[in-house]
Symmetry: C2
Subunit: 479 residues, 2 copies
């Protein structure tokens, strides 16, 4: 049977999580490889998810006063080198353009790995007075980082993202912006992607190259590994000094402004797959699913079935639901499998008997639950089913995270928690020394994901050296 | 006075059209230069115009069944070389990536100048059966062409565009697609950008590298020069053969499919500037203007003025109008100049006397006409003013094109028409020989823009050699 065949095509996640992931990426038609390693085709179904992500986030950015802009993709080597930490962080992994047509370039150009240097050059040109501040800019582009090991959505040599770059008169304004954007990311992940996230600050060793402070949202994947899902950086006036960005303040003095940057990437699609997917395929959060509900006609050759399905589709479209009617000549069983693989949140079955009874069957992709519902007021019913699908997804992901969150006070406790209950988030106190951070990684196999000061460490000792703890840190294996 | 100062900052177009263009691009804050020649910052105001263009066109593409996708930006040299004409056309002007991090690449990569080769590689991977056809794909990305001479929007080394790439079972389907997209472009230019365009076919010498036929829309700029505003190509099965794309048809035979591609670019913003702009600055078509109406308070320190302006803004927002209220402390005169420079189609002035009388003043950016209108039902009134602004812009552009369109039967007639009435579109019959095409260019200074068979050439002789004419051709100087 076609249904079985489909399911057999994916490796169960318990057997081989990495292979399960790769299988879904291919079978759900999200990605296709090209002849360049790490440069992939984002196929229409995945791109439509990205478009929905963009639409929601772009709305949030604009509501909070941000404007979109578009910088060039090329950064001259001399410009990249202006901020010392920044160039050290990025130069080893950039792609270099050395020829234009048949002529070698004088100053070779790197394909942007991130655009701080371009924004700084621009800001130096356009900012003169306090009246020119703040600038709250963002761009939706692709960037290139020449990674050695690559993985669809998680780590690719080219990826899509948005990068916000803002510049402010005061440090406090810039810090507020950094926090605001972190909160928008966290809220988006939870409300639109049904992915619970922790918000925290990165340790010194894990900061963005050139930042004073890096904040991140961290999500726990189904296999107990952490995924950094978004970052927000506070730069102080370091970049402004390196790039000689000054403005005349109200007291008529030339001073440096303060900057931030923040970004999320197509990695979010990887987070969706690994948070919500199961052994039947993808499960998409309703807010970003290209198709929120699919109508499968039952016994579609029977008189009146396709017509009634068509009318149902129109009604759902009017209710604002992204709906698809599959009236192809494939079997109903094949279609069930196909849209389970594609992660469509709600399936609607409608056949002759349902029509006679004035009903249809709604099936949740998340729980598999089947419900017979009236065709009257079906728009509202399906909307409720979509809200429930989101809530079920979030609850399931949160329960998984909680089942895999361990509070430990010693390295031994960490080791036994991970051995007994599997990988997950480890909360443990830390003295603040980089040596201890490295030692936890070496001995317990988990790295620091973020400093999470919501939990007090009063009276606690560093999990590694036993000295007084300064911070609670969330530790985990990570993507 | 601030108002005067502003106007003085732009060179009048009659004096120096190229400088007038550059002045507008800078003063209206559309573009800023970077340290890389031909790679420019598209500033928020211009990018917002592009976003509006994208939104309308993307809607038209999706209505006609197209899906968005995203290909990598890098093309391996070996892949680029697969279609002979194509590589010959593009190789001289591509940027080459030769290093990834600190290591030289084995197969150097070009930054896409266009993506036919990538789409072909992908289609070869995903198309197997007639059930897989057609694929109607599009992407919104930037491309790079290493041009020697560059000009903001018109010719830049990197530019934004959309590129549609479709693949069909039959030649007829592909031809229909090519024509459909040309018609969508033409309709968009006329209905949304208020730019009249001619639709025609390119001569052999002017075809896209690798195409069987190239169709284009051509617009006439204010200085009498032509601008190619969009192209749509029919490829036959040439690319499919070169890239070994085959499918099994219903008769179970392996055959090649047929392809098209089509694109418009940020050049459209250049077309808007040079079609509609005047000596006071930009004039934006209402459909794509980031701000459609600006409210300027008069005597804004007087009690009640700002409040009433705020209420007016809310009312216009509710009516679906993109409106801005400028309540800054600059003078009203400065604001008038500023929004004229920015090309906001409608200005609304509201002061104490207007409020008392229940009126406001509406000023058209296009005609300068001032109208006192009632504040009652103001949403509808402003919407009508926007429709009128569009119609006035289109009528003015069309009148300009008609005043600069000449029908000529000899090279002498061409020369005298251009000398007496200025540059423009020349309609003249052509025998079809490339030598004659070249000779017209050499002798009359105008190149063939497109073959325009709407006008019959029965009984006509070639404007150059005097042999029987095969086509009417539109000739012009061009950007």
């Amino acid at each position: 049977m076609a249904e079985k065949k489909f399911v057999e095509e994916i490796t169960p996640m318990e057997e081989d999580f990495a292979q399960w992931y790769t299988d879904i990426v291919k079978k759900a038609e999200l990605i296709e490889y090209t002849s360049v390693k790490g440069c992939l085709v984002i196929r229409p179904y995945a791109y439509a998810v990205w478009e929905n992500i963009q639409k929601i986030l772009d709305g949030r950015f604009k509501e909070t006063g941000h404007e979109n802009v578009c910088m060039p993709m090329f950064i001259p080597e001399s410009l990249l080198q202006k901020e010392k930490d920044h160039v050290e962080g990025f130069a080893p992994e950039v792609a270099w353009v050395t020829m234009g047509g048949s002529e070698p370039l004088e100053d070779r150009l790197c394909v942007r790995p991130t655009s701080e240097t371009l924004f700084c050059e621009h800001y130096a040109n356009i900012i003169h007075s306090y009246r020119d501040l703040p600038k709250l800019y963002n761009q939706w582009v692709s960037v290139v980082r020449w990674e050695k090991t690559t993985r669809p959505f998680l780590r690719t040599r080219e990826f899509l993202w948005q990068e916000g770059h803002t510049i402010h008169a005061t440090a406090q304004e810039a810090i507020d912006e950094t926090v605001q954007m972190l909160n928008i990311y966290a809220d988006f992940c939870e409300k639109s992607l049904a992915i619970p996230v922790l918000k925290g600050r990165k340790t010194e060793s894990d900061k963005f190259a050139g930042a004073e402070a890096t904040y991140a949202i961290e999500a726990l994947m189904h296999d107990g590994k952490a995924l950094q899902a978004g970052t927000s950086h506070y730069f102080g006036d370091g970049f402004a000094k390196a790039f000689d960005i000054t403005y005349t303040n109200k007291e008529n003095k030339k001073v440096n402004p303060f900057q931030t940057s923040w970004g999320v990437t197509t990695r979010l699609i990887g987070a969706i797959i690994m948070t919500h997917g199961d052994n039947r395929g993808l499960v998409l959060p309703p807010d970003v699913a290209p198709v929120q509900a699919v109508i499968i006609p039952i016994a579609q050759h029977k008189e009146g079935v396709l017509e009634r399905c068509g009318a149902l589709k129109e009604e759902l479209l009017k209710a604002g639901i992204r709906v698809k009617l599959d009236d192809s000549d494939m079997s109903a069983g094949w279609k069930f499998s196909e849209y389970e693989m594609k992660g469509v949140p709600v399936r609607i079955e409608l056949g002759p008997r349902d029509i006679e009874a004035g009903n249809c069957v709604i099936v949740s992709r998340v729980t598999g639950e089947k419900t017979v519902v009236s065709l009257e007021n079906i728009g509202e019913t399906v909307k409720e089913a979509l809200v429930k699908a989101h809530d079920d997804m979030f609850a399931r992901a949160l329960a998984n995270r909680e089942a895999h969150t361990y509070r430990c006070d010693t390295l031994e406790e960490i080791a036994s928690a991970l051995a007994e209950k599997g990988d997950g988030f480890v909360y443990a106190p830390w003295c603040g020394d980089e040596e201890c951070e490295d030692e936890v990684k070496a001995k317990a196999g988990v790295g620091s994901r973020c400093i999470y000061d919501e939990i007090s460490v009063e009276g606690k000792k560093c999990v590694c050296c036993g000295k007084e703890a300064k911070h609670n840190v969330v530790w985990a294996k990570a993507y």
